[in-house]
């Protein structure tokens, strides 16, 4: 039983932390309709910056904020490449992703792995002291859940502001944004900044859980983020009272659970990425299938 509990705990820990990234990918992919590949570079960016800052004695919470800002700046680069230089969305992301590899190496001073064991992290310092002794094993889940809730509420609040509404409009119908005399390109850049900020923040938190940074950790993050978003929106899409941001976080947890179950059933680690690709394909195909069903219902709109 303890084994299952610990696996369950593990799924929740990682699922929630990756859920923060899923919210970021939700902004770029679902809201803005921009498949942003720079996520593969900004996730390890958040990790590396946090590792470098905490090693240098920075406060872990401050490190989180700095990681968010650096991710947002990287997102702006992707946005500027796309909007100002007219590079297609996929290629803009690839350019940033590639550039981030060198940036990350500079941040870690050339090492691929930067451990910082026994340094203060958000899981070992600050408000964690008020947690009762018995819950200490679950501290990562509790802190991650708190972070997810705060970030989710912030994002939901933003999407309800004038700027947030305009962001949704920019992803939905650029001409509409132009017709109310706003620059849709600017909104794209803002959206990419938020998306990559959340991604880098997820990287920062994951690195503090592992107490190390790994510049290779970014590989497959786009696929994981997109899969979480698509799984979340297709499984929970019918729940009316649930916000999309909640759905994508749950999507990340479900995704992590799928991987964990496969490992439990004895899938060799080498097949992990293959499994990720398969799950992603299934998610894409099933969401296409569901969309078709939804469109049919749309046809039965009231008569003029």
């Amino acid at each position: 039983m303890d084994v299952f509990l610990s696996i369950f705990n593990n799924i929740l820990e990682e699922g929630l932390i990756y859920g923060i990234m899923a919210m970021g990918v939700y902004i770029s992919y679902s809201v803005l309709d921009f498949p942003d590949l720079s996520v593969d570079g900004t996730f390890p960016l958040g990790m590396c910056i946090t590792a470098a800052l905490i090693t240098a004695g920075f406060n872990p919470f401050l490190s989180c904020i700095i990681a968010f800002i650096c991710g947002a700046v990287a997102g702006c680069v992707t946005g500027l490449l796309h909007v100002k230089l007219d590079i297609t969305n996929l290629l803009s992301g690839i350019i940033t992703m590639m550039a981030m590899w060198s940036v990350n190496l500079v941040v870690t001073r050339g090492s691929a792995v930067l451990p910082y064991y026994n340094q203060p992290t958000i899981f070992t310092s600050g408000p964690i002291g008020i947690l009762p002794e018995g819950l200490y094993t679950y501290r990562v889940v509790i802190i991650a859940a708190l972070a997810v809730i705060v970030l989710k509420i912030l994002l939901d609040m933003y999407l309800k502001t004038k700027s947030g509404l305009l962001l949704r409009a920019a992803g939905d119908n650029q001409q509409f944004v132009i017709s109310i005399s706003r620059d849709p390109g600017k909104m794209k850049i803002i959206g990419l900044a938020i998306g990559n900020g959340y991604t880098a923040l997820a990287g920062s938190i994951l690195s503090q859980q592992a107490e190390s940074a790994n510049i290779n950790s970014g590989t497959g993050m786009v696929v994981m983020g997109l899969a979480s978003v698509i799984i979340g929106l297709s499984i929970f899409g019918k729940v009316k009272i649930m916000k999309a941001t909640t759905m994508v976080v749950l999507g990340a947890v479900v995704y992590k659970a799928c991987l964990a179950i496969a490992m439990l059933l004895g899938l060799p680690t080498n097949f992990m990425k293959l499994l990720m690709a398969v799950i992603f394909t299934i998610a894409l195909v099933s969401s296409n299938f569901m969309k078709k069903g939804r469109n049919k219902r749309h046809a039965e709109t009231p008569e003029f």
Binding site: T161, K162, N173, S179, I180
Partner: protein, 271 residues
């Protein structure tokens, strides 16, 4: 000399002035199409202009040039005396309202009616971190929707994507005229609708334009609308206006006259 004097003229009652517009598509290639050669157009304050013409006559290109979607090779464009030739499309939109042929373009399908109207209502102000929906404006939005007589005032939380084409076009028209504009552009805005919806939208257009005294430029394929509505009628052909009549002269044109001229022109170019 006279031409030169003319080009510097800014008559006070002209809202739109297009002067010496030149536009060639695919310049230097085998597909080169010279559309506008020294094209000029003046529209006075409060005028409702209907524009007809065959495909490729330059109607829609003229609108795109005005709105900034299409760049010109040379020439000047003034809106209320201000040179807007170098301004971007979204900057010009501050004083131009536009309704497109495709009802999907004028509104956001995945936002609700209320959200669409709130966004449009904020045109001209900053889009900051204040609440996107101002609850105090809801009554105003409802009263505006009532004018459409489509019963939308009771469905403000409905996604616009679930509305029919006619409903969306009526909403788009309402949205683009809700904030003060200098010029309303209607780009074949009834062409994609069924006959009944297009009648309704056209009547609504007439009402809004007259009530708000909007300067309006309407491109249409419907000769009857061109004759029935508007103060001035322009027929375009190969980048020139072949008919440009207003007032009494316009009233003398019947749909059959227009159709006759239309056919003569079309036969000339082998259509």
């Amino acid at each position: 000399m006279l031409k030169l004097l003319n080009s510097n003229r800014h008559s006070n009652n002209s809202i739109v002035e297009m002067q010496h517009i030149y536009k060639t598509f695919n310049k230097g290639s085998v597909n080169e199409v010279v559309l506008f050669t020294d094209f000029n157009l003046n529209i006075s304050q409060g005028e409702f202009v209907s524009v007809v013409g065959s495909n490729g006559s330059g109607k829609t290109t003229m609108l795109n040039i005005l709105c900034g979607t299409t760049e010109i090779d040379s020439g000047k464009i003034f809106l209320k005396g201000q040179d807007i030739g170098k301004m971007k499309e979204y900057q010009r939109a501050a004083s131009i309202g536009r309704v497109f042929q495709n009802p999907a373009i004028g509104t956001c399908p995945s936002l609700t009616i209320l959200e669409n109207m709130s966004l449009a209502d904020n045109k001209g102000s900053t889009f900051g971190l204040t609440p996107g929906i101002n609850k105090r404006r809801i009554d105003f939005f409802r009263s505006q929707l009532e004018l459409l007589k489509l019963g939308l005032e009771d469905k403000i939380d409905l996604l616009v994507g679930s509305l029919s084409g006619g409903q969306r076009q009526a909403l788009a028209l309402l949205i683009s005229t809700m904030t003060p504009i200098e010029l309303l552009i209607l780009d074949e805005h009834t062409a994609a609708l069924d006959p009944r919806s297009s009648e309704t939208v056209m009547e609504l257009t007439e009402r809004i334009v007259r009530e708000k005294k909007l300067t309006t430029l309407m491109v249409t394929h419907n000769l009857r609308y061109a004759v029935q509505y508007g103060d001035r009628l322009i027929m375009m052909h190969k980048g020139n206006s072949v008919i440009d009549v207003a007032g009494e002269d316009k009233n003398n044109y019947a749909v059959s006259d227009l159709l006759k001229i239309f056919n003569e022109i079309s036969v000339e170019c082998g259509n």
